[in-house]
């Protein structure tokens, strides 16, 4: 193990380490902690200049109440859900199939197709912006959740295919061979043999894509406008314009907007990290 386990060090250093870790964490998260404290402060604290002192009274319920009942925030949140969940389902479903095809079959152009997906996943969004916006306008899907979902599904398929294909590559190939020898149809091999083994990959990918899409801002700005279809990342800017300089409400709004992926991360931590670090170990 590197660095040397702390248990082998002197007691003094052990105690120092134990104290150092929480201290470092507080430093690391300081900007976030500040926002969390802001979000439970009353209005007067900001007018009297009490930015960093203790809240003069606890106003958490009022502030968060306002976010939920006196703004468009619930709309935005709902839009985010309606954009994120279908995207996750669509991208994972498509990439299970593409990943299977590229991981299991040998045919000419296999690697070429695979690299096309990988390369496409790396391109800067801006090169897609004008044509995709135009395309979405032409299909009458501008400023709809569906327009955003379709694009996200297509774009995420690149990353998901990379992920799925490498995962399937690592599965025991003998299983598939055995099924073939038995004469099982290819789609049945996919459905009954490979798909059950892909469950961990599907879980990991779902959490990852959920976070990516929930946090997307660029495409939300390019393809939607207004409260009827904008997700929460774009909505928060209009929310902030509405409550300019009302720091307690802006903080509460930001925390609400950031919460779902955070919750997802803590609930599905194992899958999340397995997904992010796939390939980080040989």
């Amino acid at each position: 193990m590197f660095p040397r386990p702390i248990q082998q060090a002197s007691t003094a250093w052990q105690t120092t380490y134990q104290a150092l870790v929480p201290l470092a964490l507080i430093m690391w998260l300081l900007p976030l902690i500040a926002v969390a404290v802001f979000s439970v402060k009353p209005d007067v604290d900001f007018t009297t200049g009490n930015y960093w002192g203790m809240p003069s009274s606890f106003q958490g319920f009022e502030n968060y109440g306002k976010v939920f009942f006196a703004s468009d925030m619930p709309r935005y949140l709902w839009n985010s859900v309606m954009i994120t969940v279908p995207t996750v389902i669509g991208a994972v479903a498509l990439s299970c199939m593409t990943g299977f095809a590229l991981g299991v079959y040998k045919f000419r152009g296999n690697l070429l197709l695979f690299f096309m997906f990988v390369a496409g996943n790396f391109v800067p969004f801006q090169i897609l912006m004008v044509p995709v916006r135009d395309l979405t306008l032409d299909m009458g899907l501008y400023n709809t959740k569906l327009g955003l979902v379709l694009f996200h599904v297509a774009f995420q398929t690149g990353f998901c295919t990379l992920f799925m294909r490498n995962f399937i590559r690592a599965l025991p190939f003998e299983l598939i061979e055995a099924a073939r020898v038995e004469g099982v149809a290819e789609w049945r091999i996919f459905w009954f043999v490979v798909l059950p083994l892909m469950k961990p990959a599907i879980a990991a990918l779902s959490v990852l894509i959920f976070t990516f899409i929930w946090n997307d801002y660029f495409w939300a700005v390019v393809l939607t406008q207004g409260a009827e279809s904008q997700p929460v990342t774009a909505g928060i800017t209009s929310f902030n314009a509405q409550y300019r300089a009302a720091y307690h409400l802006m903080s509460a709004g930001s925390i609400v907007a950031a919460l779902p992926p955070v919750a997802m991360f803590f609930l599905m931590q194992r899958h999340f990290i397995a997904g992010l670090t796939l390939g980080a170990v040989k």
Binding site: I6, V21, M129
Partner: protein
């Protein structure tokens, strides 16, 4: 054994009257069927638009009327565009400084790679900044830098320094935004290295220890080489993140002050889609430049992956 199984196949094809051609080419048809939906979608929304953008960069177009062909005029205009120069230069700053996330992430990972009570929770909390959206990160850091009440200036004041208006200073603004971007990016590199450190071969470490290696020498000669796969991913993700930077700039400064915090991705958006006018062709030309920069890296990534694939099978 299983006498009925080999029969099933024949029985099915008989009862459905499937033509022999399909049966004979099933091995070749199956991957095509599985690939079709994904490839179509991807080609429609990603591959095709890239080509369209290339094409569009030779036109002048306001997004509504008929595009007019102007040849390389857009690119010629780029050469004399001061704002483009600033954005391009800022992009290089982003690329260089964003890479600091890799050593910083390794540092934190080494610091946290211990077995003490509650370390798991500490690790996840350190990872926290990566999970929240860049929009919120941008907001948080805008307040952190705020000249009147920002925490940064409170701290500077505590040590007797004059307040700095990071986001209002044309010289500092890009560095300020990059620092904000480094926060989640470092968290990501940390988690990659924590996983990598977990898999470091303990026997090699012990053997090196017996040979008297420790500290930096141990890290550089024994640990870092074993972390190569993690470093590769960290590098890929950080480069892409640096070239995609848009959210933070849009939230924190909107390109200002005086356009000094723009990068290509932001400048392109501004030219093509904001109140500064709908110059789609010119925007496309900027996007093409950004794409070509990225292409150097994509080519390198693919080449590395190809080398690995050749080794695998």
């Amino acid at each position: 054994m299983f006498r009925e199984f080999p029969l099933t196949d024949a029985t099915i094809s008989h009862s459905h009257g499937a033509p022999g051609w399909i049966r004979r080419n099933r091995q070749a048809l199956a991957p095509a069927m599985f690939l079709l939906p994904g490839v179509l979608f991807f080609a429609f929304y990603v591959i095709f638009p890239i080509l369209q953008s290339f094409n569009l960069s030779f036109y002048a177009w306001d997004g509504l009327g008929e595009p007019t062909y102007v040849g390389v005029e857009n690119y010629v205009e780029l050469l004399d565009d001061r704002a483009f120069e600033v954005s391009l230069w800022n992009n290089f700053k982003w690329l260089a400084l964003y890479l600091l996330a890799i050593p910083a992430g390794l540092g934190i990972a080494l610091f946290l790679n211990q077995n003490v009570v509650g370390i798991r929770l500490y690790k996840s909390l350190f990872f926290f900044p990566f999970v929240i959206s860049q929009v919120v990160v941008g907001l948080v850091f805008t307040w952190f830098y705020d000249p009147t009440f920002g925490l940064l200036n409170q701290m500077l004041g505590f040590f007797g320094f004059d307040p700095v208006n990071v986001l209002g200073d044309p010289k500092l603004v890009t560095y300020g935004i990059i620092a904000a971007g480094l926060w989640p990016q470092t968290a990501y590199c940390m988690i990659l290295y924590l996983t990598g450190l977990n898999a470091v071969d303990p026997e090699q470490v012990e053997a090196a220890r017996l040979d008297g290696a420790k500290g930096w020498r141990m890290l550089w000669h024994v640990i870092v080489p074993q972390l190569r796969p993690a470093t590769f991913i960290a590098f890929v993700v950080t480069i892409i993140g640096a070239l995609r930077s848009f959210d933070l700039i849009s939230i924190m400064t909107n390109g200002g002050p005086f356009g000094q915090s723009r990068v290509l991705s932001f400048y392109m958006f501004e030219k093509a889609l904001s109140e500064y006018g709908f110059r789609m062709g010119y925007g496309a030309a900027i996007a093409v430049v950004l794409f070509l920069i990225m292409l150097c890296f994509i080519a390198y990534f693919l080449w590395s992956m190809y080398q690995e694939e050749k080794g695998a099978r």
